[in-house]
């Protein structure tokens, strides 16, 4: 800190202005390709086609078809985030605290890095080849157990199907996000709890989970926003048949399906609000839980 002060006072004024000049490209870039485009949509959400201010677009969001698409999106995001949180957490626990062989952890981490990026179009293909009508698992279940999952009500292009597909990138993301927090559980806490006569269940209930829960909740919110903004997987899987909000917005941008361009801006505003809130809460929660993982 003293060094910074010294440079700041010793340095001629020109050098200081030059360093400000150095971040101008970044600031300009963020303004032009991040802040202004988003702000533009937010403003557009409150304008009619002539540019006059109105709340009609927001009111128009409350029509049944749009409400339904938001509801489905929220449900899929919540379900896949919850499932991802639960299974990712258990997987991280098993790999980090489960006394498994040494190679398990780095293998899981590397694979999680790959799988969390393996979203989008190829993921849809992979699940079609697995659980589609002619998929390998569908066929195996049919030939070995005589179970026709499609006849018993399963459909890959449904809420549960899509949730199952999303879990493929949600679980690895959870593993990556929660591992530092699980690492942060100090061995001494467990030893101390044990010395004081706590059972394993008591240790988890009264020490580990209270320490972990902000990270867990934060991770849930991150996963939630991650699923809510996703489109490519669902689009490649279902075309435009599943009415999630990203697909609705995509169709709106491509072909004005709502016959009202300004309604598209309101649709986008709703998405920004939802992902913004969950990510904002995530950032707040991680800063809260940072004191334990130091």
């Amino acid at each position: 800190m003293t060094a910074t002060l010294a440079t700041a006072t010793d340095a001629p004024r020109r050098r200081l202005s030059l360093s400000w000049l150095g971040v101008v490209p970044f600031v300009l870039f963020s303004l032009m390709f991040l802040l202004l485009p988003a702000a533009n949509l937010v403003i557009g959400a409150f304008q009619d086609p002539t540019g006059a201010f109105t709340l009609a677009n927001i009111a128009n969001l409350f029509q049944p078809s749009i409400i339904r698409s938001y509801t489905i999106s929220l449900q899929i995001s919540a379900a896949s985030a919850f499932g991802g949180m639960l299974f990712g957490f258990l997987l991280a626990l098993a790999a980090i605290l489960g006394h498994l062989p040494r190679w398990v952890r780095p293998t899981l981490m590397t694979f999680s890095g790959v799988a969390s990026q393996f979203a989008g179009v190829p993921l849809a293909f992979a699940f079609l080849a697995t659980l589609g009508r002619t998929g390998l698992v569908t066929a195996l279940l049919m030939n070995i157990f005589g179970i026709n999952i499609y006849r018993s009500g399963f459909n890959l292009l449904s809420f549960w199907g899509l949730t199952l597909v999303y879990l493929y990138f949600q679980i690895p993301l959870m593993v990556l996000v929660i591992s530092p927090a699980v690492d942060g559980l100090k061995k001494e806490w467990r030893e101390a709890a044990s010395t004081l006569g706590a059972t394993s269940a008591q240790y988890w209930r009264m020490v580990a989970l209270p320490v972990l829960w902000p990270s867990m909740l934060g991770a849930f919110l991150l996963l939630f926003a991650n699923a809510f903004g996703a489109i490519a997987t669902a689009y490649a899987l279902t075309g435009s048949s599943l009415n999630i909000v990203t697909i609705l917005l995509y169709a709106q941008i491509r072909g004005d399906v709502l016959h009202d361009p300004n309604l598209g801006y309101a649709l986008a505003l709703g998405m920004i609000l939802i992902t913004g809130l969950s990510n904002g809460a995530y950032i707040w929660l991680t800063s809260r839980s940072a004191r334990w993982t130091r």
Binding site: S19, P37, Q117, P122, A126, G135, S194, I231, I253
Partner: protein, 260 residues
């Protein structure tokens, strides 16, 4: 406290099945193009398709340009924030996190509204302009990953001493950046670059909405019209992602301290 290993093992095996079965099934499916026998026919068809070569080449080029623009943008910023403008750190960190907050489809929707042919900067009215816009879109998308890996690398070296040493030897600002800072943060830059490549190569939404002939929209098109080729494409995309992650691990082991 004695712990059973059975449950962790079961969890791990269950996870492994969930993650490996779709990959195995996809691979198996991709080999089934010729009736009654396994063959690499689907791969031969896909790799020989001019559309594949063109779109993959296009995406690889865009990814490369994205990395160059991203590095040029992020490295000086992270350097100045660390060395001279520490008060700016929260602002810059907030900006670099924004692309995680605002979904890609919303960002590109904003671009279409701001840079359409009747706007003050009509980038989308020419093909080259749209390419440029796509590159900027991808820089935005990669910003959180690029900034984090460069910033982490920069925190691990003493850039103040390096800068002062270079300055006392009479180096210019550009020279310090290119010949002193960049080589020292190359681990961060490279991992950011490979991650960016992995993200850009299969990206669908932005390329599709900007109407550019990229690999993501090509895959989607094949998926809608063919049976076995999509599986082969999924395997190819997975291998590319895997290769990028492998390269990240590789460069991470070459930390600045371990060089000659």
């Amino acid at each position: 406290m004695k712990q059973s290993r059975l449950i962790p093992w079961l969890g791990f095996i269950f996870g492994a099945i969930y993650f490996l079965v779709p990959l195995i099934a996809t691979f198996e499916f991709s080999l089934r193009m010729q009736r009654g026998t396994y063959s690499f026919e689907a791969y031969r068809v896909v790799l020989g398709d001019p559309g594949f070569q063109a779109s993959f080449g296009y995406s690889a080029l865009i990814a490369l340009l994205t990395i160059i623009v991203g590095v040029a943008l992020v490295v000086p910023t992270a350097y100045l924030v660390q060395l001279k403008l520490p008060r700016l750190r929260p602002v810059v960190e907030f900006m670099t996190l924004l692309p995680l907050v605002v979904p890609a489809i919303v960002i590109v929707f904003g671009y279409l509204r701001m840079y359409n042919s009747s706007s003050f900067l009509p980038l989308t009215s020419t093909a080259r302009g749209t390419d440029l816009l796509l590159i900027f879109a991808y820089v935005t998308l990669a910003l959180p990953y690029m900034y984090r890996s460069v910033d982490t690398a920069m925190r691990s070296i003493d850039i103040r001493t390096l800068t002062e040493a270079a300055q006392s030897l009479g180096s210019s600002w550009l020279r310090i950046m290119l010949q002193v800072i960049l080589p020292n943060v190359r681990v961060g830059v490279l991992s950011g670059a490979f991650l960016t490549f992995a993200i850009v190569i299969g990206e669908f939404t932005m390329a599709s909405l900007l109407n550019r002939p990229a690999f993501g929209p090509y895959m989607q098109l094949i998926g809608a019209n063919r049976a076995y080729e999509p599986a082969a494409l999924a395997i190819i995309a997975f291998v590319v992602t895997w290769a990028c992650m492998g390269l990240i691990q590789l460069v991470a082991n070459l930390s600045p301290g371990s060089k000659r």
